[in-house]
Amino acid sequence: MKDYLTGNATVESVPVASSKDVVQARQVVRNLAQRGGLSLVHQTKLVTAASELARNMVVYGGGGVVRAAEVNGPQGVGVFVEFRDDGPGIRDVEQALTDGWSSGRGMGLGLSGAQRLVNEFDIQTGPDGTTVTIVKWNR
């Protein structure tokens, strides 16, 4: 995915280690979405996706950092969010992105569901950690 963060003045960063931080990350993403003028439905979908992905970081990745920013593209304004953890990585990404597949306590909707709720979705994973990036455009 394009580097939306370099030189972007609106970048906000939230360390996420517990479920309390997940609430904080949701609020930061919601504020950016509101400031960017995203419609209520787009805001709700984006914040829900962010909640799933931030929780995944805590549960599977041992915590990490969420960075979010307002972005502009040909489609107009949007919100970019990056979820980076230093966890053990996802062994089988294809499988993890399948509805209903879960390695832990979830329903197996976190990754696949989050992907459906946003316009752009990218996942990079390896033994040194996982980075998920998403963009929700206001269209």
Binding site: V22, R30, T44, K45, G113
Partner: protein, 125 residues
């Protein structure tokens, strides 16, 4: 210590009105508090008002389904009321249809539904 969501008793009904952004621990506490209160209060119905919730993700969605199942086993019906339209659209796209969870548009209709269910229940042979 995290905050707890209050569980109010009105006659045979327990009312839970979620007014703040939920942490996962609060969700688990609520599940436990509610299960105990259904038994101690002999409740026949539970109404969960989520009109203040801006999002319901898969964790909270699963909690609603679990609470409905637990309370049914304890002899109480659960109705979730006040879901925002954007939340409903998001939940369906997320893949969570909350099967087995009764819903109503607002508190008034939720209470009416519970009354109807309890009448139907007691009329059974």
């Amino acid at each position: 210590m995290t905050d707890r969501v209050p569980v109010l008793k009105i006659g045979e009904i327990l009312l839970v009105s979620i007014q703040i952004d939920l942490e996962d621990e609060m969700v688990l506490d609520l599940q436990e508090d509610l299960s105990q209160k259904i038994v101690s209060a002999g409740a026949k119905g539970v109404v969960i008002d989520i009109s203040a919730l801006e999002i319901v993700d898969s964790f909270v969605g699963r909690m609603l389904a679990t609470i409905a199942s637990i309370s049914r086993m304890l002899g109480a019906e659960t109705v979730v009321v006040g879901m925002r339209p954007a939340v409903a659209m998001t939940l369906v796209e997320l893949g969570l249809s909350l099967q087995g969870v009764r819903t109503a548009l607002n508190l008034e209709r939720g209470l009416k539904l519970l009354r109807r269910l309890s009448t139907a229940h007691s009329a059974r042979p």
